[in-house]
Each structure stands twice: as structure tokens, then as C-alpha cells.
């Protein structure tokens, strides 16, 4: 199945730079052309909608907060279908992120809805090892989906 990995965040703000850092690592890994598209989603918010209208599988990589305890693994895998139902995400602002994007998508999609959406989340501070694991996990999910990666 065709897949797209979209890395979200602001590389100039350390607390939000996990996604772009994973993006940089994925570029180094040279993903197979034609199988997985890699996108630097930056802070584009709603402007990413056209990337979600091409069917296939979409994997977001983003910083997360509040998902893990201090001593737990700081890498999490979330189901996009669940995120889109969180009511707190239904307000739009300039920084509208994945939640709003996923919630509004079914109503505005002009193309083919993704068959599966996942979020690879990185909680808190990170090091090269965590970034490496996040990069590998995002490729794994892009290839095999949520069920095949858990």
C-alpha cells in the first residue's frame, strides 16, 4: 500500500523539533522511491490536507505530551481514528494541528481518504537513539500499518 510519512513541528523550537529531527534522519535513510513519500510538514496545519487525499496509509511524526509516565518509553504509537474524536481538538486556530486536521478531513476530502492514519509520538526530550527508533517505527508503520507494528 502506498504510504506517506509527514513529520510535523518547528525545528527552531526545541520542544517542538522532534518531528523535523525524525524527518532529517529519514532523509538520511533514503526511503524506497515509489513506496513511501516523505514530507516535511513543518507548521503547515490545514495546508497539509491535500496530502491526505491520496488514499493509502499516512503516518504523522510529532512531539506529544501527557501520554507516558516519566519512567516509561517515550515513544508512542497512536491511532489517527481515535485522535480525531477528541472533542478538544475541534476548534480551529492558526496552529491547528493533527487533531483538527483529522477531524475535518472526512468533510472536505476531494480525493481518496487514507485507509489508515497513525501518529508516531515522541514525548519530552529526546536523544539520537530515540529519534532513530522513531524513524524506524514510522517506516515500519508506513509499510505494515498499525496492526503490523504493535
Amino acid at each position: 500500500m502506498k504510504a506517506t510519512i509527514i513529520c510535523i513541528g518547528n525545528r527552531f523550537v526545541p520542544a517542538d523539533a522532534a518531528g523535523p529531527t525524525v524527518y532529517d534522519r529519514l532523509r538520511e535513510l533514503a526511503l524506497p522511491t515509489g513506496e513511501i513519500d516523505l514530507v516535511d510538514g513543518g507548521l503547515q496545519g490545514l495546508n497539509l490536507l491535500p496530502l491526505l487525499e491520496r488514499g493509502g496509509r499516512v503516518v504523522f511524526v510529532d512531539a506529544v505530551s501527557g501520554f507516558v509516565d516519566n519512567d516509561a518509553d517515550r515513544l508512542v504509537l497512536l491511532d489517527g481514528a481515535e485522535i480525531s474524536t477528541w472533542p478538544e481538538q475541534h476548534r480551529f486556530d492558526h496552529g491547528a494541528g493533527i487533531g483538527y486536521l483529522l477531524a475535518v478531513l472526512p468533510q472536505v476530502c476531494d480525493g481518496e481518504m487514507p485507509r489508515e492514519i497513525a501518529v508516531v509520538g515522541i514525548e519530552g526530550t529526546y536523544d539520537a537513539q530515540l529519534i532513530e527508533r522513531a524513524a524506524r517505527l514510522s517506516i515500519e508503520v508506513a509499510r505494515h500499518g498499525l496492526q503490523g507494528s504493535r
Binding site: L43, N47, P50, V64, E88, D93, I98, Q107
Partner: protein, 516 residues
């Protein structure tokens, strides 16, 4: 005896950025206001020592909403340093992309960020139009809200075609553009523009662009609204009706001084008209009286900002960005500097553009009522009506001239200094750049929100929306919706920063500490 409440924080969800607005309320109205940007950005320091062209890639990341505007300002500064005049087709493409970005921002802000406040059942439970407002603007359910997301998404596809990459296009370079769209691509853009015009006319205006352009006074506006059901039922018509019921013309006066850098350089060979080589005019206005802009009169005051003290207000070519977050606690309160024009506080944005361009409706509005939330938001609602016709023309001219130049060669960026001054969706944006030995030696950015959301200056003068908040009635301190209208009418936008997916475990929620 007056009842004074100190230190009330105004909740500003949907404001873009690390923004805190604190007010002092006396007898139910705002008596004092302080607006604080709460995050140090430091892009200027980040740019020093980088390659001369790096601003084209780095500064568009300043903002996720108006990245093309930053790209436009960055490239204009480099054009000036290189002494190159891009060819007509480059201007057409640059302008089209910038206009698409501006229009999508205007429409999204109007519907998704401003009008949605009228679907606030707690604040507007007695508003006769409440149910209609909810049906139009409720998040993810309102008819208008969904349409706006869909239609603006389609419009932005034009930028992808023009820039050849989406997102994060950097297709503007000194000397022109890197893309040379063929006839079929230009035709695609033309179709996108035409479809958007049809939707904007049908849904936002309720009339043709030509009919709207005939509205030249407050009386015309009232007559236009009463003319037929289509006008009344349109989003603009609904805004006019609800603005009347909620007295938006009495809210948010502000400094009554306006600034615009002018925008959209005209190709030499074009049928689009404008002022002094641009579609919109550069100028300074006091009330409705307009004066030529002298960019040498722009300074940045840091007396109330967390920057190194001791310097007088400096022109951005001489400006410094040295964070200094200690001392003078209470006097300094923002990471935003205080830009001033000839020492004066100014408002910038669509209303400023309309006044400085001499648009008769807005000249009449300001002369009769003065600036207000109503005037500011009306300008944002209808600015696309002024931008869309030139877009149609330039798309056609591109088709006719598609074999002409798109780029003039620039081998290197010489030593020198240059400024890129453009109009972002939220107003005047400037990049002041110096290059030495092919590296950036100086970079200063003044954003529209620095103008509108500045703190006080050394003379104690409030920033534009601090001033606009004075006198705002606060009926319910827990839900100060009127103060929200005032600040939101400026479309605040600080620093794109933390977009962090948060969970409350069981409940799970997205907290967006978005900063610009």
C-alpha cells in the same frame, strides 16, 4: 466609587502564538491593557553568519500561515542588494502565490476565527441570530466553516502549481522565480482562481465582484444589505447584521493611525492598475488623511521589552536583538519590540490598506465612525474582492507571455544592504538585511503583529491593540467575549512554535501552544 479589578487575563484561544493579554477593569470596562508576547523568537540572531541566500529557506519557517509572505520579503531584500529587477513573469507568479496565501488567510480568519465567536451560546444566548450563527460557524459542523476549509484548500493548490513544491516552497529567488509553468499549468491555476471567485461571490459576498465594487459609502453599504435576500444571507451580509446587533462599530477603536508598506509589484507590461508601481499603496494615515511613507522613520523601541536596555529606538538597519530577561520587573513585559513610525503607534492590516489605498467605503467609514472591530473585520472580509480580479488578469497574461523570461541571472549576492517590505495577511512585514562577504551580517524582521501587538514605548504609549482594548465593556469576566473580538479583529499572530499533541490520558486532548 469605582469598582476596580486588576490583573484579569483575557483568554485568547485561537490567537496565534504565545500571547497574553492582561487588563484592568474599572466599572465594567477595560481601563488598562498590557499585551505580552511570551516567547523569545530570535530569528534575527539565528540568521547572522549564514549564507546570503539562507533567508529564503529559514524565514518562511517563521510562520506556518504566511510563509510565502516571509519568502516574498526575504527575496525582495536580496533583489535590492543584488540590484536586479525580476522580469514581468516572475512578478506575476510571485504576486499570484502571495495573493492566494493572503486570501485563504482572510477567509479562514473571518469565518473560522472571528465569526465562530458568535456561535458562543454562553456569551450570546440572547442574540436573535444565535441559532443561525451556530448553523453557520459551529466548529466542524457549521456549513460555512466546512465550506471555508474546503475552498481555501483548493485555492492553495494553485501555490503548489506555481511553486512546484508543497509545502515549504522556496520558488522565489533573487532575479525571479525557479518555476516556469507551462500553459497547461497556468490554465489549471486560472481554473482554480475562477472556481474560487465563483464560490466567493456566491457564498461570502452574495453578489458579483463588480457589484461589490460599487459600494462606496456607508449609505451604499446599508442599501446593498437591504437590496436582496442573497446579500442578506451571504456571509458578509450575516456579518453586517450580527455586527449591528452586537455593536461591533463601538468596539476597539485603537490608535486611529495606519501603516501600509504597499504590496504586489506591478509588472511593466500589465493592464492591472495601482499606485507607484504597486497594486496597493505604501503610506501612513492619520484617520482618513493619507501621507507618503518614509521608511526611514521606522524604529523599534525596546523600553518595555525583554531586550538589552540602554539603547534609544533604532531603525531596523541598526537594530539589535539581544535578549535580556532580567531587571525592571513590571516595566518590561513582552518579548515583542515596539515598532513606531515617526515615534507614533500605528495599526496595520487590511483596514490600513483600504484607508491608505483611498477606498471610498472605508474612507467614509473612518470619517463617520472611526476605526473599530467592525471596520477592521469588514476590511478583512472584502479584501479578496480587491485581489481576485488582478489574479485573473495575471493568470491570463502569463498564458500570453509564457515563453518570456521568468528569471534574470544573479551569480552572487554582493556586499550591501536591502529591505523587503510587503503586506502580509495581517499587515506590514519588513525584512532588513545586510550582506558582507556573501554572508548575512545583519537581519531584522518587523512583523505585522509586532506593530499591532506591541508593548508600550519609552513615552508610555500603548501598542495598537492595547489601545483598542481601552473602554471595552466586560460583562462577564469569565467569558470576556468583547475583548476577544477586539484582539481577534487584528488577527494576532506571534510565533509559530509548539504544536504538541497532548493527552490527558483518558480524555485525551490537543493543546496547541502556538506561537509566532
Amino acid at each position: 466609587m469605582s469598582i476596580v479589578t486588576r490583573g484579569v487575563n483575557i483568554p485568547l484561544n485561537r490567537a496565534e502564538g504565545d500571547l497574553e493579554v492582561r487588563v484592568e477593569i474599572e466599572d465594567g470596562v477595560v481601563a488598562e491593557a498590557w499585551s505580552a508576547g511570551t516567547m523569545y523568537r530570535g530569528f534575527e540572531a539565528m540568521m547572522r553568519g549564514r549564507g546570503a541566500l539562507d533567508g529564503l529557506v529559514v524565514t518562511p519557517r517563521v510562520c506556518g500561515i504566511c510563509s510565502l509572505t516571509h519568502l516574498s520579503a526575504a527575496v525582495a531584500a536580496l533583489d535590492a542588494i543584488a540590484g536586479v529587477e525580476p522580469p514581468d513573469n516572475a512578478w506575476r507568479l510571485r504576486n499570484l502565490a502571495l495573493m492566494m496565501e493572503t486570501i485563504q488567510s482572510d477567509v479562514r480568519q473571518s469565518i473560522l476565527m472571528f465569526m465562530v465567536d458568535f456561535a458562543n451560546r454562553q456569551a450570546y444566548h440572547d442574540l436573535p441570530l444565535l441559532e443561525d450563527a451556530c448553523e453557520r460557524y459551529s466548529p466542524l459542523a457549521g456549513r460555512a466553516a466546512i465550506e471555508v476549509v474546503r475552498e481555501t484548500k483548493r485555492l492553495l493548490q494553485g501555490v503548489a502549481i506555481i511553486g512546484g513544491q508543497w509545502p515549504h516552497t522556496s520558488f522565489m529567488v533573487p532575479g525571479g522565480v525557479t518555476s516556469m509553468p507551462d500553459v497547461s499549468k497556468i490554465l489549471q491555476c486560472r481554473i482554480i482562481i475562477e472556481r474560487f471567485i465563483a464560490w466567493y461571490e456566491r457564498t461570502i459576498l452574495g453578489c458579483s465582484l463588480e457589484r461589490w465594487q460599487q459600494v462606496g459609502s456607508v449609505t451604499d453599504l446599508e442599501n446593498w444589505l437591504e437590496e436582496n435576500d442573497a446579500h442578506q444571507d451571504s456571509e458578509l451580509g450575516f456579518f453586517l447584521r450580527i455586527a449591528r446587533q452586537s455593536d461591533l462599530h463601538l468596539l476597539g477603536r485603537g490608535p486611529n493611525r495606519f501603516l501600509s508598506y504597499g504590496n504586489l509589484v506591478l509588472p511593466e507590461d500589465t493592464t492591472v492598475g495601482g499606485f507607484d508601481g504597486k497594486v496597493s499603496r505604501a503610506g501612513w494615515a492619520e484617520g482618513a488623511e493619507v501621507f507618503p511613507l518614509d521608511a526611514g522613520k521606522i524604529t523599534e523601541d525596546t523600553s518595555h521589552s525583554w531586550f538589552a536596555p540602554g539603547k534609544p529606538p533604532l531603525h531596523p538597519f541598526d537594530g539589535e536583538t539581544k535578549p535580556y530577561a532580567s531587571g525592571h520587573s513590571g516595566q518590561v513585559y513582552s518579548w515583542v519590540k515596539a515598532p513606531r513610525y515617526d515615534g507614533q503607534v500605528a495599526e496595520t492590516g487590511p483596514l490600513a490598506e483600504m484607508i491608505i489605498d483611498g477606498r471610498p467605503l472605508f474612507k467614509d467609514l473612518i470619517e463617520r465612525q472611526g476605526p473599530s472591530v467592525f471596520a477592521r473585520q469588514l476590511a478583512r472580509f472584502v479584501r479578496p474582492a480587491a485581489l481576485l480580479p488582478p489574479m485573473r488578469v495575471w493568470a491570463d497574461e502569463l498564458r500570453q507571455h509564457c515563453m518570456d523570461l521568468f528569471y534574470r541571472s544573479v551569480k552572487m549576492i554582493p556586499d550591501g544592504e536591502g529591505v523587503g517590505m510587503v503586506e502580509a495577511a495581517r499587515g506590514a512585514l519588513g525584512h532588513w538585511v545586510k550582506v558582507r562577504d556573501e554572508k548575512i551580517s545583519h537581519y531584522q524582521i518587523i512583523t505585522p503583529t509586532a506593530w499591532n501587538g506591541s508593548p508600550r514605548d519609552s513615552e508610555g504609549r500603548r501598542g495598537a491593540w492595547e489601545e483598542a482594548l481601552i473602554g471595552t465593556p466586560i460583562a462577564d469576566q469569565a467569558n470576556p467575549v468583547a475583548a476577544g473580538h477586539v484582539v481577534r479583529s487584528f488577527d494576532p499572530c506571534l510565533v509559530c512554535a509548539v504544536h504538541c499533541l497532548q493527552s490527558g490520558r483518558r480524555t485525551g486532548r490537543m493543546k496547541i501552544d502556538s506561537n509566532r
